[in-house]
Amino acid sequence: MVETLVASKTLIDVRDLKMHFPLTQGIIMQRVIGYVRAVDGVSFSIERGQTLGLVGESGSGKTTIGRTIVRLYKPTAGQILFGDKDLAKMDGEELRLARQRVQMIFQDPYASLNPRYTIGSLVAEPMHIYKVASNAEIHERTAELLRVVGLRPEYIDRYPHEFSGGQRQRIAVARALSINPEFIIADEPVSALDVSIRAQVLNLLQRLQQQFNLTYLFVSHDLSVVRHVADRIAVMYLGKIVELSDRDELYAAPKHPYTKALLSAVPIPDPQIEKKRKRIILSGDLPSPINIPSGCRFHTRCPMAQQICREVEPVYEKKEGRDHYAACHFSEFVTQNE
């Protein structure tokens, strides 16, 4: 009984997901000389109708998580529980059918739309693949979808190059919506767009979420955008989630020094606040995911690092606060934002 209750609320449950890419040497005799540990043991769940924001720097593995969930990659280990089914173990026809419930929106609308297709056929393609309706109905629904995302249905026979970046991203959204998915993975959906257009697309995504009760995994490097759209936020560093919590709590009381540094690095469009702010400037760059540092993977850049951080990997565990998880030996000393 309890189980079904939990199951009805949680839409997707990712458990200890790992995605390692082999590095090979040699041309004929290929030997594996190491692994890029892009995603290295990540667990999270998302409730129906909610948005989980996934933030991190480039190379932290956030995009790989998104792509692994839709099974563009076959995960090295772990489970992707979608209802009672495990996407990680599926193959062939079973996987194809399961994918109907998950759709993806990509970062660059200049690359994700085939330039030789009209936007009508781009939006209709998923419906044809899954044969959801007759051709006439699909045509009608395509026109409707365009209207939903704020484009004129008359544009149905135009090609992607006739549209601006923001409009193209709307087309990508319409395509993702076309087969009524429950779960949408949005991989940096507004990063390629201009400021004034960005707000339009964000509002569109939020409106659609309310109308169709969609669940989002919103991948972004932009903490301001994520704060705006997400209910819960996971912060990634070198293939692991270092902190996950409720949105407001994460910003008000971060429990991981990386989150704190990340927050302080985001410029705020207000000169008065900017003058008063103390910035934590992290030294150096993200280490290579091939040679992950020992102990806590953040210790090479962490302003609080101690001996124990170099030796023992901190456990990702529940901390004080509402559903607040972090992986840090000294999380209680990560002070609140000044």
């Binding site: 720097e57 480039s58 629904r141 409707e144 979808l145 209207r147 939903v148 704020g150 601006s164 923001g166 409009q167 009524n180 201009d194 400021v195 004034s196 257009i197 960005r198 707000a199 339009q200 964000l202 509002n203 939020q206 409106r207 109308q211 169709f212 490097h221 903490l223 301001s224 955008v225 704060r227 705006h228 759209v229 407001d248 910003y251 540094a261 990340l262 927050l263 302080s264 690095a265 985001v266 410029p267 705020i268 469009p269 207000d270 000169p271 008065q272 606040i273 900017e274 003058k275 702010r277 910035r279 400037i281 992290l282 030294s283 760059d285 993200l286």
Partner: protein, 362 residues
């Protein structure tokens, strides 16, 4: 005269294309004092980068063409200088940082030689002296083990490190002015903070004036003294940084400020947006370029408003007929915005209802 280091007056840069002329920069004027930090903000295609390239005379001509105006640097019009004199200015008196550190370094030269090149050409240093100075420059921009890294090639550096090298090159000859065109757009936030901190520190130390070109309002808020807001090839508003954020007077600036989500703010239900998209700059219609997207727009906006000083505020200029602080105007704009939103919602609600009907039928 004399007060300004660089004074741009009525600069016009056009591009010839088959369909006509793209007016990328259309009558831009602004000035910068020695040591001042000026931000130029706008969306892509508003002409901010073309302005920078016009100052440096780095535009490919044709198709580009500087159709008018002047760029006075220390009293001298850069647009009239012969190419040989211009070469001395570029990299010598004016340094430039470009957006993408991956493409603006030469992959076949060591970074030491690339920094040294500027020093040997402009300051006529010997190879040895140039090498020594290059090492100290690399140290200044925070590259560890500079004396070893000097012989590395660009691909051996990360993005942030490469941008540091680019900054070292730009500052090698102690320029009076540094033009930074989106210096941190290609970088991660934590690295962005490092680089902005560096530019700020080094330029304050040497008294270098900075023109910081960016689309990110957060970046200019912390970095600059004064801001120029550009839209569709024109300057629409300019004010001191403190003034602009508190008291924006152009509807575009207003819209821009309210459409950005902020990391220090709890969300409102929806972001305010600027509807529509920037205009096509090939043969644009006369009048205010922002009119089609502006909630405050009215008949008079079909004539282009001049960039004028606000009464009583010598430092604040705007190009708009409407007083956006007037409650009557605000009410008018709010009403127009509401009707627009309602129209949009009506369209989509219709869809939601019909798709539900389809689901029930099944």
């Amino acid at each position: 005269m004399g007060e300004y280091l660089l004074e741009i007056q009525d600069l016009k840069t056009y591009f010839k294309v088959r369909a006509g002329k793209v007016r990328a920069v259309d009558g831009v004027s602004f000035a910068i004092k020695p040591g001042e930090k000026l931000g130029v903000v706008g969306e892509s295609g508003c002409g901010k980068s073309v302005t920078a390239l016009s100052i440096m005379r780095l535009l490919p001509q044709p198709p580009g063409e500087i159709a008018g105006g002047s760029v006075l640097f220390e009293g001298q019009d850069l647009l009239d200088l012969p190419e040989s004199a211009m070469r001395k200015i570029r990299g010598g008196k004016i340094g430039m940082i470009f957006q993408d550190p991956m493409t603006c370094l030469n992959p076949t030269m060591t970074v030491g030689n690339q920094i040294g090149e500027a020093l040997r050409i402009h300051l006529k240093l010997s190879k040895n002296e140039a090498q020594k100075r290059a090492i100290s420059l690399l140290e200044q921009v925070g590259i560890p083990a500079a004396s070893e890294r000097i012989n590395s090639y660009p691909h051996q550096f990360s993005g942030g490190m490469r941008q540091r090298v680019v900054i070292a090159i730009a500052l090698a000859c102690n320029p009076k002015l540094l033009i930074a065109d989106e210096p941190t757009t290609a970088l991660d936030v934590t690295v962005q903070a490092q680089i902005l901190d560096l530019i700020n520190g080094v330029c304050s130390e040497f008294g270098t004036a900075v023109i910081l070109i960016t689309h990110d309002l957060g970046v200019v808020a912390g970095m600059t003294d004064r801001i120029v807001v550009m839209y569709a090839g024109k300057v629409v508003e300019t004010a001191t940084t403190d003034e602009l954020f508190v008291n924006p007077r152009h509807p575009y600036t207003l819209g821009l400020l309210s459409s950005v989500p902020r990391v220090d703010e709890v969300r409102h239900s929806q972001l305010r947006t600027i509807e529509g998209a920037p205009p096509d700059l090939t043969n644009p219609p006369p009048g205010c370029p922002f009119m089609p997207r502006c909630a405050f727009a009215r008949a008079i906006c079909r004539t282009m408003p001049p960039l004028e000083v606000l009464p009583g505020q010598a430092d604040h200029l705007k190009a708009c007929w409407v007083d956006v602080t007037d409650p009557k105007e605000q009410a008018y704009a709010e009403k127009r915005r509401q009707t627009r939103i309602e129209k949009m919602l009506a369209a989509t609600n219709g869809h939601a209802a019909s798709s539900q009907a389809v689901a029930e039928e099944k």
